[in-house]
Symmetry: D2
Subunit: 377 residues, 4 copies
């Protein structure tokens, strides 16, 4: 990802890059739900993309997007994969279908951008990782927050040494309101469903996590408790050289979607806050400098991130380089989620394998099966 | 302009509105320079637009945009106007051509979005105003700052009574660096070229300006002084009921493009600041909470405003309503610029006609010739 | 004024300086009204001061302070001046008594810290200036805002060249609510009573003001209008080398005492905002980052400034140096106020003498009578 | 503690309260080191205090303060305790002497304000708690941060229900630089020496902590590691009803003393940030809105807190009410520190007794011996 596109993704810029690269890339979209609609709009607006297909078994949804963006609707993902002239697919279908679709696309030498998680079952995700190891084109997992202009900027500035060695990372991540009960029951729990983004964010900065301590609480939602899940969670991660990460999660937030990060290093700190629609501040007898409410949820907050993610994917497809975050990163985040579940259940700190794939470096190390061990460290 | 589209212009939203409105609007672009390229990118990305033509006598520029966006390039504005199926044109050609192109488009019943200024010659601008009075489709002037999400939000909140009666308006507007000498010499001077945006912003809030006091200084640029122009300026406007406006301008700003506004009312204040690419703050031994540099200039700062402006124009074309800001507003801003020139030259406060067209209301009053009078008020 | 004492006035620091300087300074206070009470508390708490007297014709007020602080109450200023062992007096009596008390104190070789204004009558203030020219001990005027930690810090950083040449100064100054009608009627008008602080602040940065343009409005207060005064005012000042100052005043402010300053220079900008009792911010569904109300009025906002002002006075008394701001500065601010009155009345820009005393330099130039001339410049 | 004195402690206000209460309180200071000097300055400046004694075995230090503040110096704490007319003592002597001095003062019916910790040995601190249970006058422990205007304001607003039920508390606390090696070796370790403040702050909001999880790291200081201590620490606390607290500590901070708190509740969030000497912001080509460095360390940051703490103590002495924080709170914070040490050593979450004394309520419950149990919860 180029820093400038991350910082200010604009189609004009993108087009400029793309224009020198010959023909547009022909892409298909599988899944036309909430996230699918975001990708559809971005695919349609991108001058470097020939947006060819929208597949969804609920073909009415696909047709709605076809009417708007011109890509052909179909109820068959297979139809898309067999297009013959396709460069790649964006997969936004339900989680249980991800692995099969990834494998089918890789088999046809298509590039893949797949929404996370790879799978809720760790073993299956690992199998997928092995299977795509020799893919001829990039396979990328949609950890879109890595492309948030603010988080990406901090990552780049930390990598450039601006704050010296990174010592402590503070991540606060709160949803505006709990997902519906049905969603919660099939979500895999707060650590696999919500904290997984923060696990990946932690690994974006500190790829080698070696210990996980997690605590969950039930503070406000009866149906989350009834589902055997937590509505509030705190996680402490320790990286290979002792660096510390704290993650604070809540399934609700009265003041909107709360997504913040602080990187504390030997020579300074870099923080990223929430974004707002305007810069307006109000001053009244009730108080001063009151700003807008935060962006309501991820579609608004991460709109630029989704565009930058697509840019990054397209660039990797064009230059043939390894796309990051990859399936490795998807698996690694799941491993941390599993460890968190165990830690919250037992009150113990869980050691995780030190051989997790590096996210930042573009090369992958051997990946032994993770040994989840419970110990006093 | 709907508030939500102003606050967060997103093509997905726009498309949603447009999708219910039948066929896309067929539009041509005249002028492919710096601003033309902005409009070209927005026209191409907008799902409600059939972007048909790009005209420029320097046809190579037009062809460059054609290659990127698919609209047909031509060296002839006439060719565009005679398309036959066109709904409207976006005019970004050099200022001296604006009036002729507006009139030619209006004669062919085309909607017009024309970059400001209408003309540097006030008499000619007034003639144009008269000529378009009976236009069958909207004629809109590109005072894009009215569509800046923050300024538009304040305007809406003031109109909603949030701070009571508006009493004082503070506008600070500084360019990052002086325009080149050649540009300055043909610009018409700081008040007609730069402050004109702020005059329109003042009228966006307080349409009836009755007095103008202006002071100019030469503080840093020899070639601006040699051109008989000022590099720094302060203007005080008084509105019909005594409301006060201050405008502070500079042709340079070491910290980037500086565009701020404060609306002070009987019950509070609303302010809008500058925007930045990210929310990142740095904390080091040198200081705390240092934010990014501001957006470098108007293309970046007002990117959302240009999109919202295009939205507004398209909505007016569809619903047939009067487009604001119109030629009336373009003329009114020029009248204030003329008065500022006289005030700076004479050290006197200049009275301007009380019958300037209301910007906010969508109806226009009779507009007598402005009587520039010098008096002790 | 030393920068550190200005930035963070603390009695512990002060004491440290004072402890090396031998005996405490014996001081008396004349006037025990609202400002007198502020000075009384500071005099009592300062380890370098022997707080000896409190004089007020309303001796009950003086006795109230005596009970709290131990200084002897008297109804006679004369009694204080004739103490014999006194080092100086702090004069907080009604404005019309200032000149006589200053002269009486100077005659007895006492140091003087006198609240502003010197006098509402410019001629009388000039006479006082002449009379104290040869004073053996410092005579200082209480323009306390010069000692505000934030304003003083900006002044020092501008003087150190941090933002290059100072080009534009923006001062916003709004009272929380209008003074009572009786006060307004005897105040001398907004320019002499309220803007005078801002005139001094302008001169703190740009001592040589050469032109004054002022506009007044009546926007909300019937009794201010009935008194022939303005409730809202805007002033533009031009300094000797073309630097520009804007002052925006209002007699009310729904969000509290509003005192801000921006110094814009060739290489950057320094701004100072309002202070609040805490750093607390609230985030709710109504909005984000809402801070406390501002300090309600000058007693709270400028509490640190009053302490730093007293420090500065004591240091000057000890080292025998000229105290700034002096009577010269008091006169210069009055001259600007007179010019503003004339400008607001006539709609003209008023030229003021270029030979105003420099505030920053500790030496005074010859001061001819100011020639108020009305011209087109 | 009254809210207004916490928010803006000013001697004038204090004096006003004290003036109605008869004679000043006669107090002695034991210990004239760094904190002793802070208390000496506050005692001397307070109009409600008769500052009688300064005791220190290093009598030269005491004499230095005597010269400045007038209280009599002595090398004997005993001499102070036997004054006969004394109301109370402020104890700032070395930690190992605290318990004996507290008991001696209580025996003589003196009020006590004692710096924390009560003792590094938990058993001894508990013994002291028992011994002072029947004290006739207030015995208060110097957890000064409770009196920080910002933290106190949040506490008050949370108690008033402004953010609904408190769910998560985030505390970040970083020292500017590590204490010297000798200090570290005798400090008792980061949890007993540094985190103890944060444990008390957690209990200020959530008195009933039931679980402690702590992780320590060695990231930058060789001599801290050599001393068997950590330079960086993260602690997670769970309160009786599941509320979660995270504490992040570091022994260094390149950008100054970092003391922040966020209280997140069902209906909103309240945050408190760091304080700075001025409100100045700078804008240059390097970045925008850069603020001052933070206050360097606790003497500056908590100056207002020390004054408010003294006010609170004096009020309790006058009204005879229980002083909070008391010895109970000192013991409770030590208990959490002990549990943190065990957790960091074992990697386990430690359960702590649910019967810790409530801090907020002014009544104390029965306090059984804490049962430190290691469990999987």
């Amino acid at each position: 990802m180029s820093s400038s596109s991350a910082a200010r993704p604009r189609w004009a810029d993108v087009a400029s890059d793309a224009s020198g690269s010959g023909r547009p890339l022909r892409l298909g979209l599988i899944g036309s739900g909430r996230i699918g609609a975001v990708h559809a709009a971005n695919l349609a607006a991108h001058p470097g993309v020939d947006f060819a297909w929208i597949a969804d078994p609920f073909v009415e949804e696909a047709r709605r997007l076809e009417a708007r963006y011109g890509a052909a609707a179909t109820d068959s993902a297979e139809r898309v994969l067999e297009d013959g002239r396709l460069d790649g697919v964006v997969i936004c279908s339900p989680t249980p279908t991800h692995v099969d679709l990834i494998l089918a696309a890789v088999q046809r030498d298509l590039a893949v951008l797949c929404e996370k998680p790879v799978d809720l079952d760790l073993a299956r995700a690992r199998t997928c990782r092995t299977a795509v190891a020799g893919a001829s084109r990039p396979v990328m997992v949609g950890f879109n927050r890595r492309f948030d202009p603010s988080f990406a900027s901090i990552r780049q500035r930390v990598a450039a040494g601006e704050i010296g060695r990174l010592e402590q990372l503070t991540i606060i991540s709160r949803d505006p309101a709990p997902a519906p009960e049905a969603y919660i029951r099939s979500s895999g729990g707060i650590f696999r469903d919500m904290t997984i983004h923060d696990f990946d964010m932690a690994r974006f900065f500190l790829p080698d996590i070696v210990q996980v301590t997690a605590r969950g609480s039930n503070l406000f939602s009866d149906y989350i408790q009834a589902a055997g899940d937590y509505d509030s969670a705190v996680v402490v991660l320790t990286a290979a050289d002792g660096e510390q990460v704290t993650i604070t999660n809540s399934r609700h937030s009265a003041y909107g979607y709360d997504q913040r990060l602080e990187a504390f290093g030997a020579e300074g700190m870099l923080s990223a806050g929430n974004s707002r629609p305007t810069t307006v501040r109000s001053y009244t007898s009730a108080g001063t400098a009151q700003a807008d409410a935060y962006e309501p949820f991820f579609l608004e907050r991460y709109a630029a991130a989704y565009r930058a993610e697509l840019d990054h994917f397209l660039q990797r497809v064009r230059d043939g380089a390894w796309a990051s975050p990859g399936i490795d990163d998807g698996v690694a985040a799941l491993e941390l989620a599993e460890a968190a579940v165990e830690s919250a259940d037992t009150g113990r700190t869980i050691a995780v394998g030190s051989a997790l794939i590096h996210a930042g470096g573009e090369t992958a190390r051997e990946q032994p099966n993770r040994e989840v061990s419970s110990s006093g460290i």
